[in-house]
Symmetry: C2
Subunit: 149 residues, 2 copies
DNA sequence: GAAATTTATTTGCAAATTACAAGTATTTAT
DNA sequence: ATAAATACTTGTAATTTGCAAATAAATTTC
């Protein structure tokens, strides 16, 4: 049987490079961490700092500062939660939403480009497989005897 | 049609976390960059600095320093190439080979764990799909109007 | 075949990123 | 009312980053 790790290493490295080089939007040159934060804020429903940091597996103190810089760039807004004033709710500004959407489009363009090298059946198969993988990974939550989060 | 980017974002983030938390070997606590360098040296045939840095998409100056620290840890060896004395060939020391192999095993263990939540058919399908993806990505070499390497 | 150009790698430096520990402010439990 | 827990921020110090410039060896040019 083929080496599983090798296949995954190659695949994730390629997507990692894509992520890293993607994307500059307008004047902004968005780093990979920033792009992931924007993505996560956009996809969660009124998330708190903790929730986003947790989803990204980022240390909360590092995250705090990254968010500060995104706020300075006017891409993210922090709103205190009235019911619990310790908590800040994160949201995208109009500009932040624009940047997030543009990155999303660029990523989807690249992915469609990749799939253009497959026939319709292969494409369906691959998409179904990614879903299966994601489901299976949810059920598997530790590696190397260290809790994953 | 489902959002391609979302699926891939989730998948690559999960593997990214795995990679990040994997693995501590013996006394060594191996960072993700170090683990990738060890992997790549192990998989290429007598690679030069440039070749490994290029494969990893790492800036050569950063790479130079990372390799220096791996040499200090006695995991990597730099051998000048006789035919071209500008070039250093990288190889793993016995200890480095051990660390690389152990990481590989831990990653494979995790991946097998993931696949244990699928039936045989699903597993075959997913593995075939990753191969298809890797082949398709080779044929697609730019994103976001920036050359990927 | 010496001088100029290119290539592979290293260092200087300054900025960005990290994470631990300790701090503030608010909420919940006792 | 006091103590403990929670959400987030700041101090600080180490690590990581990448650009520019340096070195050293090979190749090209005249």
């Amino acid at each position: 049987m083929e080496n599983l790790r090798e296949m995954f290493q190659i695949m994730t490295r390629r997507f990692g490079l894509l992520d890293k080089n993607c994307c500059s939007v307008g004047g902004f040159d968005i780093s990979i961490i920033h792009s992931h934060i924007l993505y996560e804020i956009d996809n969660q429903h009124n998330p708190s700092m903790q929730q986003v940091a947790e989803a990204l597996g980022t240390d909360i103190t590092t995250f705090s500062r990254q968010v500060q810089s995104l706020v300075k760039m006017n891409l993210v807004k922090k709103t205190p939660l009235p019911e619990d004033k310790r908590v800040y709710i994160l949201s995208l500004t109009t500009e932040g939403k624009f940047v997030a959407t543009t990155i999303d489009q660029q990523m989807n363009t690249y992915l469609n480009d990749v799939f253009s090298h497959m026939n319709e059946f292969e494409k369906e198969t691959v998409i179904r497989s990614i879903k299966l993988l994601n489901e299976a990974m949810v059920k598997t939550n530790n590696c190397c005897a260290i809790p994953l989060r």
